[in-house]
């Protein structure tokens, strides 16, 4: 029997018992649909995190925070010690529960570590407003981590941390309110930043706009270079020595020619000194791990549905083999070999698997695309660039292949039974 005839026969046999085939296909449909959707959610969210945040991270920077106190959860509050204790670290960075702060001595220790080129403290700055020449003031914040991030620019250039000029990167939502004609027109102009010092007096600091950036979920607010943050910090403290400086964290630049292993070694050295040093990639890794975990659980449910469907295939084909005992006997009497009979039933299983998975994936793509569009203009409109369901052709193809493989395995038992059937006994079967 030719392979093409085998395939054609398998397809037409599949449709001989329509109700049974339809029900089995439906069971696979549910599994394939779910798997396609969950995979698409995983891909969509991962891609969003990658593009929104991954592009922002500088590859040669650590975010250094003091190591969290290793206090067991049930041992009660940690006793205050003026030498080590400080205000709880806030902001976007640092693990939860980091109750220590970095002092200037810490910064020196870090910058003296081999491989670290420079260290900048992350300063908590609380500017009141930003205004352009026309005078209208708008509330705004400065992203404390702008020293390590690379802005997703729509116009202009990145911050120059070596420059003595005070530079700022404005979020694009500020461009029109501040009276600029376009993103490009804002670049090069000067804006005034209002800040209240510790004595309660309001001061202004001038900054040059060097770029305009898109808002992103993890790096909100404007970006400021080292010169501007230093100046703002000086104005904020109003020249008064407020005691030993304490920082929630610091950014440390390391030699970007270091190998990944050397970076790990450097992190270990800093850990020995009592600091947690993470690259932006490490921090993203945590986010990705969580997303991967959630998607993994969802996928596991889909696979459970597919396993249930696999038993449906086994049952369907066993019934089919039972029903067609005489037909199998006849084909064998007419000289069809056991191998071909096996192939025929395996192919029927694969056809059922293909029907279910192709339908499931197709409907998932159709419904998912509509849902994704509705969500991106409605519920998720605040997250520009988020495509909650991302259907990658490769992963859809892999899902279909996976389901066909599961179907093939399910068909093994019935196909074997058919292949082994003795033609005479099959023909005598009533």
């Amino acid at each position: 029997m030719r392979v093409t005839d085998l395939v054609a026969t398998a397809i037409s046999n599949t449709f001989r018992s329509k109700v049974r085939t339809t029900l089995t296909v439906l069971a696979i449909f549910v599994g394939a649909f779910t798997l396609t959707i969950t995979t698409a959610v995983g891909a969509g969210v991962s891609q969003y995190v990658d593009t929104q945040v991954g592009s922002l991270g500088a590859a040669d920077v650590f975010i250094v925070t003091p190591k969290a106190d290793d206090a067991p959860a049930d041992s009660g509050p940690v006793e205050y010690d003026p030498a080590t204790s400080g205000a709880a670290a806030g902001g976007n960075f640092g693990p939860p529960g980091a109750t220590s702060a970095l002092s200037d001595a810490d910064l020196t220790t870090i910058s003296d570590t081999d491989g670290i080129q420079s260290v900048d403290p992350i300063r908590a700055l609380a500017p009141d407003y930003v205004a352009a020449d026309d005078g209208t003031k708008y509330e705004f914040t400065i992203n404390a981590a702008s020293g390590v991030t690379t802005a997703d620019l729509t116009a202009g250039a990145q911050l120059d941390h070596g420059s003595s000029e005070s530079q700022i990167i404005l979020p694009d939502s500020y461009v029109t309110p501040l009276g600029f004609a376009s993103d490009a027109a804002a670049v090069g102009s000067t804006v005034q930043i209002g800040i209240t010092d510790v004595l309660g007096a309001q001061q202004t600091v001038d900054a040059t706009v060097v770029g305009v950036s898109l808002e992103s979920i993890l790096a909100s607010g404007a970006g400021a270079n080292a010169a501007l943050t230093t100046e703002l910090a000086a104005v904020q403290s109003a020249g008064i020595d407020t005691g030993a400086a304490r920082y929630a964290g610091a950014t440390a630049r390391f030699d970007d020619s270091l190998s990944p292993d050397a970076v790990l070694a450097l992190q270990a050295t800093l850990a020995d000194d009592g600091y947690t040093a993470n690259t932006v990639a490490d921090q993203l890794g945590t986010v990705q791990t969580v997303i991967t975990g959630i998607v993994g659980v969802l996928n596991a449910f889909a696979v459970i549905a597919l396993i249930a469907a696999a038993f449906g295939i086994i049952n369907t084909l066993l019934m089919s083999v039972q029903e067609r005992t005489r037909e199998i006997g006849l084909m064998k009497a007419m000289g069809m070999g056991g191998g071909k009979v096996y192939m025929l039933f395996s192919l029927e299983a694969i056809v059922i698997g293909f029907l279910g998975s192709a339908l499931g994936a197709g409907v998932a793509i159709g419904a998912g695309s509509i849902l994704s569009n509705v969500l991106s203009t409605g519920l998720l409109a605040d997250l520009p660039g988020l495509n909650i369901l991302l259907f990658e052709p490769l992963s859809v193809a892999l899902i279909i292949l996976l389901v066909m493989a599961i179907a093939f395995l399910s068909g093994t038992l019935p196909a074997q039974r058919a292949a082994k059937a003795n033609p005479i006994e099959s023909l005598r079967y009533e």
Binding site: M1, E327, M334, G337
Partner: protein, 248 residues
């Protein structure tokens, strides 16, 4: 090709089961079927007549004894060779038709060709030729289940015929048909023998059908207990049968 395409079985034995439930279906049967011959294997149910046919048709292997087909020892043939031999040289007609439901008459008839790996177009041509010969060409596209019993058995004969076999094995070919329809089916089979020289091996308990064959082999309890030969000229069936056992 061999000059004599003979099926030669010697001292064939076959039993089923083991121990107390052991059943000896055949206990030493020797039978030669010559090309172009028509042989009736007659016996009651349980006599071993179907088992004998299965052995001769290579559907089953004997426990003891030898079987030669066209001079070749069947036991020495590979499984693949046996399958090919059955596919190319044998045709089968069964009492219960064994037509595939919900499949067209044409597809039913061309099943052996499909198994042989012959292309779709050649299959259709040969299938229609056979259906025309059996006056069923107007039913080619119909589902097999819509046909009457006689038509079904003609389709079965068409299926047995489609691969131009040397031998057609028929197991109770008229068992499910009324007398008139059965007669028509018998006529078709004997016409095939006369016109195309196809050897017929017919298993039956119908004396009249057996009498139309050249030879009658009577089987009882797994052994041949009588063998008769119909005289060449038709002188009345009963004159030829001189057995004493009630085989009907």
């Amino acid at each position: 090709m061999q000059a004599e395409w003979v099926i030669d079985g010697r001292e064939l034995e076959k039993s089923y089961g083991s121990g107390a439930s052991r059943f000896d279906a055949l206990r030493g049967v020797s039978l030669q079927v010559a090309p172009g011959e028509t042989v009736a294997i007659v016996g009651k149910s349980g006599s071993g007549k179907s088992t004998l046919m299965h052995l001769l048709a290579l559907l089953d292997a004997p426990d003891a004894g030898t079987l030669h087909v066209a001079g070749q020892d069947a036991a020495a043939l590979s499984r693949r060779d046996v399958n090919e031999l059955r596919n190319k040289e044998f045709g089968f007609v069964f009492q219960q038709f064994f037509l595939t439901p919900n499949v067209s008459v044409l597809d039913n008839v061309t099943l052996p060709l499909k198994i042989a790996g012959i292309g779709g177009k050649a299959r259709r041509l040969r299938g229609m030729e056979v259906l025309r010969q059996l006056e069923l060409d107007d039913k080619a596209a119909k589902k097999a289940t819509t046909l009457s019993g006689g038509q079904k058995q003609r389709v079965v004969i068409g299926r047995a015929l489609v691969n131009n076999p040397r031998v057609i094995f028929a197991d109770e070919p008229t068992g499910n048909l009324d007398t008139a329809t059965g007669r028509v089916v018998e006529d078709i089979l004997f016409d095939l023998n006369r016109e195309q020289g196809i050897t017929l091996v017919i298993v039956t308990h119908d004396e009249e059908l057996a009498a139309r064959c050249d030879r009658q082999i009577y089987i009882r309890d797994g052994v041949i207990f009588n063998e008769t030969r119909t005289p060449p000229a038709h002188t009345g069936a009963h004159a030829a049968i001189n057995n004493t056992g009630g085989a009907a």
